[in-house]
């Protein structure tokens, strides 16, 4: 058996073990199911949505739940709540995923370089993350929206900017630890190129930490997008988002209190599923969390 074959077998075995351990956790499985359900709705929304989420119907304003043709009723402009919830699912998932991916794409390379080369560059980068962290995400997002104008794209940009320092610090911390490991030291002594060490020896060992971190960042950013849209700094009407739905619900809280329930429940189900999945992944993938 060649060494490549052995390595493949070890990897396949490890993957099977991880999968088995993950599936043994009921909360993790519930989380995974929830995430798959929400993603399916987000992807299929344009196909399965009963109405156009932005279509007004002035003859049927603030219809209550279970009224004919509208399972969850209609809002202040007669728009179908269920359709808007579905459209909001796509918006929220898109925002959470894109902002997380963008933050990873920026933070991981910088963190790798910072932790690997250390020195003045590292100090400068860390000082810069300190400064970035001094502006809480909402303050940052509000400022950005003021500079570049409110829109979903800009909300995503603000969310990822706010996420970068955290990812950067985690990556750098891991790299600092891995750099001292014997196999990395051996590669250095053997004269391996820096980029080979970084991408072949260090990066693969970061994957599980980053996956866990991403799985808890996505729900936080979904809440972030809803918050910004609620404040009028994200998705602009008439496009549907859970945040904008809650914001208009607040204006009708005395006439139609239930309007404030549905989008919140949708957010809670989505973020709870992601958090359960993240906890499960952490238990399975993160060696330090073993009890």
């Amino acid at each position: 058996m060649t060494s490549a074959n052995v390595a493949l077998n070890v990897r396949a075995h490890r993957r099977r073990r991880v999968r088995r351990r993950f599936l043994r956790r009921p909360t993790a499985v519930v989380g995974l199911t929830g995430v798959l359900f929400v993603v399916a709705i987000g992807l299929l929304a344009p196909l399965i949505s009963p109405y156009d989420p932005a279509a007004n119907d002035y003859s049927n304003l603030l219809a209550s739940a279970f009224s004919p043709g509208h399972l969850f009723g209609t809002d202040e402009l007669g728009r179908d709540i269920l359709s808007r919830l579905m459209a909001g699912t796509s918006t929220s998932l898109l925002a959470g995923l894109l902002a997380t991916l963008f933050a990873l794409a920026v933070a991981v390379p910088i963190g790798l370089i910072s932790g690997y080369y250390r020195g003045l560059l590292d100090t400068t980068i860390m000082r810069a993350t300190d400064v970035m962290l001094a502006f809480p995400f909402l303050v940052l997002a509000v400022g950005l929206a003021a500079i570049i104008g409110p829109s979903l794209g800009n909300a995503i940009l603000a969310l990822s900017l706010a996420t970068i320092p955290g990812f950067l610090r985690i990556t750098r911390g891991e790299v600092l630890g891995l750099r001292g490991q014997e196999y990395v030291q051996a590669a250095i002594v053997n004269g391996a190129l820096d980029r080979v060490i970084l991408f072949r020896h260090i990066l693969p060992n970061l994957v599980s930490v980053l996956v866990v971190q991403a799985s808890v960042t996505i729900p936080a950013l979904i809440i972030g997008e809803a918050t910004l849209s609620f404040l009028g700094l994200g998705v602009q009407p008439p496009a549907a988002s859970w945040g904008t739905m809650l914001s208009s619900a607040q204006n009708y809280i005395w006439q139609a209190p239930t309007l404030a329930l549905y989008p919140g429940i949708a957010i809670a189900i989505t973020t709870l599923s992601f958090n359960l999945l993240g906890d499960g992944l952490r238990d399975v993938l993160d060696p330090r969390s073993k009890k």
Partner: protein
């Protein structure tokens, strides 16, 4: 120890200095300058130019920055173009409101999070543990502002027990003040409580499996002393760091909570300044927020060393 504190003071001041530059440049990057906002109805370019000259807006940006910093150090953050009020005096009115809200929220977070975290760790694997772990995950998954709306629905619209919004200064009427602050503080505190609880649980579990705990038990100490004195003390340092790191989330939470409950604090001031294009006010409030964040982080770092004798004797981290 002295060396450690001095170094921390140095890096904190450096961070603050860079933060002031970021704030200043950020506000410069906003579309339109203060002179244009002040002279919205004026079309004569000569008048706009005269106002620019009067407020030093025609100077190069570095000169404007130095002048702004000179004034800021003396406590003068300028005058809002919209309200004509001094930004510093508006801040002085608003800071205590936000401090009260944040303080109450922290208190709630600690009062809920720490005991629940200890219970969950001590009774690991029991229904206590599962219930509080699930509860904390729920606390993390529910957005603040929705919880705020639910509270208004339940306690104001439904039961009519508490006013839905508004603010009364504490010294005017303590009861009225608390009646209006309790809902926002609970809304803000629960999310934080979830984080504190999870951290407390995991660091208590770690402490409880340490050798010194086995020693403490072996020498016959009561379980209460083992948990209350030995394990708790070591876990609190970790929790302290986490609470410090949560400050950013707390400030973001303050912005949205104040908006929902119409509380005239720093968070509402930030949003009002953005929506009314009050750049000078925005500059001031963002600067104060960043400074507060840096100050609290400094205090957390120092407290961490003070609480952890290993770092203290080692001469610093």
């Amino acid at each position: 120890m002295k060396w450690f504190i001095m170094r921390k003071v140095g890096t904190s001041l450096l961070t603050l200095l860079i933060a002031t530059m970021v704030v200043f440049i950020g506000v410069q990057a906003l579309p339109g300058d203060t002179a244009e906002v002040m002279t919205a109805e004026v079309t004569d370019p000569a008048v706009i130019q005269a106002i620019r000259a009067k407020y030093g807006l025609d100077q190069p940006v570095p000169v404007q920055y130095v002048k702004w910093m000179e004034n800021a150090i003396q406590g003068d953050l300028g005058q809002s173009a919209q309200t004509k009020l001094s930004v510093s005096s508006v801040l002085a009115d608003r800071i205590p409101v936000t401090l009260e809200l944040a303080g109450l929220a922290l208190l709630i977070a600690v009062l809920i999070g720490i005991p629940l975290g200890i219970m969950a760790a001590v009774r690991q694997g029991t229904w206590w543990d599962y219930a509080s772990t699930t509860g904390s995950l729920l606390g993390l998954s529910v957005p603040h502002f929705w919880l705020g709306l639910l509270f208004i629905l339940a306690f104001s619209v439904g039961l009519g027990w508490l006013p839905a919004s508004g603010y009364v200064p504490f010294f005017e009427s303590p009861l009225q003040n608390l009646a209006r602050m309790i809902m926002p503080a609970v809304v803000l505190g629960t999310g934080l409580a979830a984080v504190v609880m999870r951290q407390m649980r995991s660091s208590m579990l770690e402490s409880l499996s340490a050798d010194y705990i086995r020693t403490a038990r072996a020498k016959g100490l009561s379980e209460r002393a083992v948990i209350g004195i030995h394990a708790l003390r070591n876990s609190l340092t970790t929790v302290l760091t986490v609470v410090g790191l949560q400050l950013g989330a707390l400030i973001s939470g303050v912005v949205i909570t104040e908006q929902i409950f119409v509380i005239p604090g720093l968070g509402k001031m930030t949003l009002d300044a953005v929506f009314s294009r009050d750049y000078i006010g925005l500059q001031g409030v963002v600067l104060v927020t960043a400074a507060a964040y840096i100050l609290v982080n400094f205090l957390v770092d120092v407290a961490y060393v003070l609480l952890n004798p290993r770092l203290r004797l080692g001469g610093g981290a």
